[in-house]
């Protein structure tokens, strides 16, 4: 399978599970994308998903913790993180790379750089050894996952070697992420974002 075919297959499969897929040249454009997305998000309200519903007192208390728009980017290199933090600052968002346990009520965007992708299933492969990385991808309303196009493999067996390396570390925690968090547990009606993100955006980068 050629490079182009892999990109096309990945895009089709990821979009089939309602992920947004964008092809971008580099990390710089990815950073702009994240900042724009955060700015556009619920411009007039800070409420996190579910907080507008009638909740029990305890669950509602949790909602009150969230005050600002938060972008978390736990696994970027120092240089990329600084650039993002600067752009967030300019827009009045909080940018974080750690301490996400203080934000369990939810954050707006979790931005991660992934290690691989699987075309046949439209999944990204993410080294999640760090707790901050796991949280960023789980408590965010939107997960933006960047991955380089040359790391897209055709199928599971294609990523097997890389995955074997990732899981061989002690300890290790690795994820295949395919679309947003979803459930069909009530009357088999599909609903996104039951525990994790309501949206998954995958940015296919030519280079990092």
């Amino acid at each position: 399978m050629s490079n182009t075919e892999r990109i096309e297959l990945f895009t089709a499969k990821a979009e089939a599970v309602s992920a947004v897929v964008k092809r971008l040249p580099s990390m710089k454009e990815a950073t702009d994308y994240v900042v724009d997305l955060c700015g556009a998000k619920e411009a007039c309200q800070l409420l996190i998903s579910g907080c507008g519903e009638p909740l029990s007192q305890k669950a509602e208390d949790l909602c009150e913790i969230k005050q600002d728009k938060v972008v978390a980017a736990p696994n970027l290199s120092q240089g990329h993180y600084d650039a993002l933090a600067k752009a967030c600052d300019k827009n009045g968002f909080v940018c974080k790379r750690d301490g996400l346990r203080e934000h369990l009520a939810g954050i707006d965007i979790g931005f991660t750089l992934c290690q691989g992708a699987i075309a046949e299933t439209g999944s990204v492969v993410l080294d999640s050894d760090s707790e901050e990385t796991r949280l960023a991808t789980m408590i965010s309303e939107i997960h933006v996952a960047a991955v380089t196009v040359d790391s897209i493999e055709q199928d599971f067996y294609g990523v097997e070697k890389k995955l074997a390396e990732l899981i061989a570390k002690t300890p290790s925690y690795t994820a295949f992420i395919t679309g947003a968090s979803r459930t069909a547990d009530i009357e088999r009606v599909l609903a996104l974002g039951v525990h994790g993100p309501l949206e998954l955006h995958v940015l296919l980068l030519d280079e990092v």
């Binding site: 998903s49 519903e53 369990l104 046949e120 299933t121 999640s128 925690y173 994820a175 039951v194």
Partner: protein, 722 residues
């Protein structure tokens, strides 16, 4: 859950489930959508090949279960994971409770685990004063309702949005709307709160990779990731059957699991965990990680040559998705904790005979589960073997002992069938004008009420064995020499179907014989768990019809044919009977395949321009014998305008003695079938099996429908150019 004391009580439950209109419709809608989604998900893949690979790899893991456990434990301990082995459910629960105690955990969040359902873990932990919250949405819902799951993958499929809204109103103390989108958001917030407070997270494991001591978790909601991230203690509870040697094995299963479960290519999250990971809430910044392996009969099962293949199961739930009985009665009456076909079997091994003994009767043997199983497990025959074991352990009931006594003696059996003609006299015989069939006018009392949903056929005046000598064609220099295997239904109820068959290929150079010593194929005996008698009649048949003398053994009852094909398994090879059974089974062919593929009859052989006809594919033909195209092709060649019917390959609800035991279920399955048939607008319904003719014809006659039901042999004989 199965706490019923006798079959009567069980049937009472079944009746209630049948009355649950919402549940039935919900499952029904899924049952209709599922095959389409599954086919799409597997598009372009070699599914058979993948299933065979999974089966072989799982068999290998099962053989090496003990060794894989040791390897996993070694690797895990190197990484600082605590590994435990629990002999049974109680032990597993105690180990987990003691971990909670040692770590000072009070609040627990759980991510979906069938193994924890198996051990009834929640009850135990709650009994120890711990607060347990299921975090999978469906599991949380049923936890609050104090129910078990009604499906392995969709635990709350039996509930409506209104029921969920009512439940959530109670939990939050606020009024909830019944909008699903909103209910899901409410659950998100409520459960997030529980995650924040939890000390301990419990998960299952879809894979336990021995090589690296890594567990794999497959979820859609992402709750497993939160359960294994936020609390400072993680306990994974995992059946020994989840052990697999390498990552490659796990990835292979992962290719099939979501596709077969719900038609998804992959679930949203697949998580691979190895060792106590970073945890900022834990002292030292590291989680405490435990894995509890559950035996609960698995080691014994792995050593059981007859049953070890059930450990191949990857818990995709597909065998429930396609099961016509599950579709009618839902999970709570079609399983104890594990549901569907695999549930009927596992219940016996994991939860004991008492829970299994009534459940296991409720399989109609349609083979749909076998055809769809991701691990290639021969579920229907294992279900019957469980039943046979239960009978061997508890004693055979008088009915089946009597039946097997009669059936072992062909003369007595056939004598009784003949005299049934006189026995039915007091009830009278009526001619079903529209249906071209004879029915019993008044059903004997014991059948009258429950079987009133269909007319029952009358015994023929003359069995086929008396007619055959007069119609046997004389053939010089035959192309083929064949033997007819008649089967009881056709021999004694519908001899005209066999007669028609002989007429269809008369003049086609086929010399036909009907060896008179043949008897019942033995399928009813298998259904009743009478394995000894089943083998005895098989012996009579392989000696009655010498395979060396015939090119083919033709059977126009696919139930018989598929059972005859299983003779080698009954004899298990080896001795001379085993070899004979092999050769015998090899020669067996169904009538449509014989006419279409062997004789290669063509449109030239038949008058064209016949009526619109639709088709019902008998379970034992399309799945039992894997014959799909031949009947439709020969029907069209026979001059009929073939119009496909919705759910053409779904069971009609007959299942031999099944419809006698569970008439209400049989009736419901039949109703769907008849509706679909009538919707085609066809004048004739053609099928290849006398049992299906009996069921569908009886049902349509009862409705007063104009659609005529005919056996394939009859419709072809009628249009054959003389």
């Amino acid at each position: 859950m199965q706490n019923v004391k006798n079959l009567g009580e069980y049937k009472e439950h079944v009746r209630e489930a049948l009355d649950n209109e919402f549940q039935r419709q919900a499952i029904d809608r899924f049952a209709q959508a599922y095959p389409v989604g599954r086919a799409k998900a597997f598009e372009g893949m070699d599914v058979e090949g993948l299933i065979a690979e999974i089966a072989a790899a799982k068999d290998d893991s099962i053989r090496r279960m003990g060794e894989l456990y040791e390897q996993f434990k070694r690797e895990a301990e190197k990484a600082g994971i605590h590994v435990h082995l629990a002999k049974n459910a109680g032990e597993a629960n105690e180990i987990i409770a003691s971990i909670a105690k040692k770590t000072g955990s009070k609040k627990i969040v759980k991510s979906k685990s069938m193994t924890a359902e198996e051990t009834l873990l929640n009850h135990h932990l709650e009994g120890e004063g711990l607060e347990v919250t299921e975090t999978d949405l469906g599991e949380w819902i049923i936890q609050m309702r104090h129910e078990g799951p009604s499906h392995m993958v969709m635990p709350a499929i039996h509930l409506s949005r209104d029921q969920v809204a009512g439940l959530f109103s109670q939990v939050t103390g606020k009024d909830q709307s019944n909008e699903i989108e909103k209910l899901v958001k409410v659950a998100r917030r409520e459960l997030r709160q529980r995650f924040v407070e939890a000390d301990m997270g419990i998960s299952g494991a879809n894979f336990a990779i021995a090589e690296t001591a890594t567990i794999g978790l497959v979820t859609n909601e992402g709750n497993a990731r939160l359960c294994t991230t936020l609390p400072r203690v993680h306990v994974a509870l995992c059946g020994l059957d989840k052990l697999t040697p390498t990552l490659h094995d796990a990835l292979r299963v992962l290719r099939a699991l979501p596709r077969n479960a719900t038609g998804q290519t992959l679930t949203s999250y697949t998580t691979w965990i190895h060792g106590p990971n970073e945890d900022n809430a834990a002292p030292g910044g590291k989680k405490e990680m435990h894995i509890v392996f559950l035996d609960n009969g698995r080691t014994a099962l792995a050593e059981d040559p007859e049953f070890r293949q059930v450990l191949r199961c990857i818990r995709c739930g597909a065998c429930a998705n396609v099961c016509p009985v599950y579709r009618m009665v839902g999970g709570h009456e079609y399983g104890h904790i594990y549901i569907g076909a695999i549930g009927l079997i596992l219940t016996y091994f994991f939860h004991g005979r008492d829970k299994a003994k009534h459940l296991v009767l409720n399989c109609i043997n349609c083979q749909a589960c076998k055809a769809v199983c991701a691990a290639g497990i021969d579920l229907p025959s294992l279900i019957k073997r469980v039943y046979a074991r239960i009978l061997d352990e508890t004693g055979h009931d008088i009915d089946s002992t009597l039946l097997s006594m009669v059936m072992r003696n062909r003369k007595l059996f056939h004598g009784l069938l003949r005299s049934a003609r006189f026995a039915q006299k007091p009830f009278g015989v009526k001619k079903g004008e529209k249906q071209k069939g004879n029915f019993i006018r008044h059903l004997p009392m014991m059948f009258a009420k429950q079987h009133a949903f269909r007319e029952l056929p009358a015994v023929a005046d003359k069995p086929f064995r008396d007619i055959f000598p007069k119609i046997q064609p004389k053939v010089e220099n035959p192309r083929y020499t064949v033997a007819i295997f008649g089967g009881c239904a056709q021999d004694f109820l519908y001899p005209e179907q066999l007669e028609a068959m002989v007429h269809t290929f008369a003049d086609r150079g086929v010399a036909v014989d009907f060896p008179l010593q043949q008897t019942c194929c033995g399928l009813p005996l298998m259904m009743m768990g009478e394995r000894k008698a089943e083998k005895e009649v098989a012996e009579q048949n392989i000696h009655a019809i010498d395979p060396a003398k015939y090119d083919y053994i033709i059977c126009s009852c696919p139930s018989c044919a598929s059972h005859l094909k299983q003779y080698p398994e009954i004899f298990g090879g080896g001795d001379s009977d085993g070899l004979l059974a092999d050769r015998f089974a090899d020669k067996v062919i169904d009538i449509s395949s014989f006419l279409n593929d062997v004789l290669e009859m063509s449109a030239d052989d038949f008058e064209q321009g016949g009526p619109k006809a639709t088709y019902h594919a008998p379970c034992h033909l399309c799945r039992g014998l894997n014959v799909h195209d031949a009947p439709r092709e020969i029907l069209a060649k026979g001059g009929y305008e073939y119009v496909p019917c919705k759910e053409e390959e779904v069971c009609c609800g007959f299942g031999g003695s099944y419809s006698v035991k569970f008439p209400e279920i049989s009736q419901q399955i039949l109703t769907n079938k008849l509706d679909n048939i009538e919707a085609t607008g066809a004048e004739v319904l053609v099928t290849d099996c006398p049992g299906c003719v009996m069921q569908i014809r009886g049902g349509l006659a009862k409705r007063g429908s104009d659609v005529v039901v005919r056996h394939m042999s009859e419709v072809l004989a009628e249009r054959r150019k003389k």
